[in-house]
């Protein structure tokens, strides 16, 4: 079952590695025209489907229950994160997340509550895109995925691998795996509802929502991968570039 996926992914990876000139800063967007098309489609989807559904979900389902369901979804995603921690040789994070899973799955009543965070076992997310980053794969071009939104070539490959690698997906049969998907959708709807002001100000109130999304995604992703901050003093070509915009500020 897994084979075709792995084949496809390794083919994609080879392709990526071939053109993986790491772009540390700035925007690499050769597919802008296609990307803008998907961006428009995603906005139309948000307007027609995601926004009304999340508003209904947010209005009908009380906040604590929504939070609980999101917690379950988060807990179910931990095993996949642990796999990536191990692949990145971040064994400390792997242990941290395993303990987090153990606590929330038991004391947290199958993940409904999140007692782990108050015990110092806060959320430490990871994904296969980050694993590829630690393996030295450059981010590639910026892409907008249908439904999912902003990503890069590397992170899009990571997304597919994460779906294929997720241990929970392999352990659950239907209908349980459908419940897991349902929880994921509920979690996304909750996020969309909880931060609706923020989403709407970027998606609908900005003069060019496409470039706002692109900039925010890339800045934030690089920040989370630890690219701009920690490499500054040791690697000028990579991290230093983030601060370049301030060098010609007073010209």
């Amino acid at each position: 079952m897994l084979k075709p996926v792995v084949l496809f992914v390794s083919a994609a990876l080879l392709g990526l590695a071939g053109c993986a000139a790491p772009v540390a800063n700035g925007v690499n967007d050769p597919y802008e025209e296609v990307n803008r098309g998907w961006h428009e489609t995603n906005i139309a989807l948000d307007k027609g489907l995601v926004d009304p559904v999340s508003t209904a979900y947010g209005t009908v389902v009380p906040d604590p229950l929504r939070k609980g369901l999101s917690n379950v979804s988060d807990t179910l995603s931990i095993p996949g994160t642990v796999v990536n921690d191990v692949l990145q040789f971040q064994l400390g994070d792997a242990l941290h997340n395993t303990a987090r899973f153990a606590v929330n799955a038991t004391v947290g009543l199958a993940g409904l509550f999140d007692p782990a965070t108050s015990m110092g076992l806060e959320e430490r997310d990871s994904d296969f895109g980050e694993t590829l980053h630690t393996w030295g794969v450059g981010e590639g071009a910026y892409v907008v995925l249908p439904l999912y939104g902003p990503s890069t070539e590397r992170d899009a490959v990571g997304l597919i691998v994460d779906i294929a690698l997720n241990p929970v997906g392999h352990l659950l049969d239907s209908p349980e795996s459908d419940y897991a998907t349902g929880l994921k959708v509920a979690d996304l709807a909750d996020t969309r509802y909880r931060y609706s002001d923020l989403y709407e100000s970027v998606l609908y109130d900005s003069a060019d929502s496409y470039s706002q999304m692109r900039l925010s995604y890339l800045d934030n992703r690089r920040f989370n991968l630890g690219m701009p901050v920690s490499t500054v003093e040791t690697d000028e070509t990579q991290g230093g570039a983030t601060y370049d915009i301030y060098e010609d500020f007073y010209e």
Partner: protein, 194 residues
């Protein structure tokens, strides 16, 4: 005689010192950058927890911006190359409009900050800027990172990064797109920000 000479030399060297010193005496230090942001953050925290109405908070926020951020140069930078050909009065009215627009746009996010606070963690010097790193702790939210970028030249902050997202960069893109929509006309852009 020699007394006069000496005193003259003292006066002269004193003069030289005052000319040469500013670059030394006024060199902005890491602790000064952090002190600046500490007091900005204290004022922001006071506004967040003042219990005032949102519109009163926008006004307070604008005053903090003017005091601690280099708004004229931020406005110029956000405008990009067209700023070079703009007249002084065009620039100053754009700066004023931009200030208000920023205060309203980000001030409206303040609702989420009520009851929360910002902590200053530490400062790192990178080339000619100081990155003053803070953590925002809001109710019912995981804490997130905020960085104030203070420039040694103006001794004020010129950017704010939220989880790595630079507001200077995103406003450059935004104002650039708005200027395009205004047909490249700065006055029309300024009017649309009002």
């Amino acid at each position: 005689m020699s007394n006069l000479f000496l005193s003259r030399r003292t006066v002269l060297s004193g003069l030289v010192a005052t000319v040469a010193l500013p670059s030394v005496a006024l060199a902005f230090s890491q602790s000064e950058a952090e002190a600046l942001i500490n007091s900005a953050v204290a004022e922001i925290n006071a506004v967040i927890n003042s219990g005032k109405s949102e519109s009163a908070m926008y006004r307070d926020f604008e005053q903090i911006l003017v005091r601690y951020a280099d708004m004229p140069n931020i406005a110029r930078s956000v405008l990009g190359p067209p700023a070079r050909t703009a007249s002084a009065s065009q620039l100053s009215s754009f700066t004023k409009a931009f200030q208000g627009y920023i205060s309203r746009k980000y001030g409206s996010r303040f609702r989420e900050f009520i009851g929360g606070e910002i902590q200053v963690n530490g400062t790192q010097k990178i080339n000619s800027v100081y990155d003053v790193r803070c953590t925002a702790i809001l109710r019912g939210e995981p804490p997130f990172a905020i960085s104030f970028i203070v420039h040694e030249r103006s001794e004020k902050f010129i950017d704010l990064q939220i989880e790595g997202i630079s507001l200077l960069k995103s406003e450059r893109a935004e104002i650039g797109a708005m200027l395009d929509k205004a047909g490249g006309n700065i006055d029309a852009l300024t009017a649309s920000l009002g």
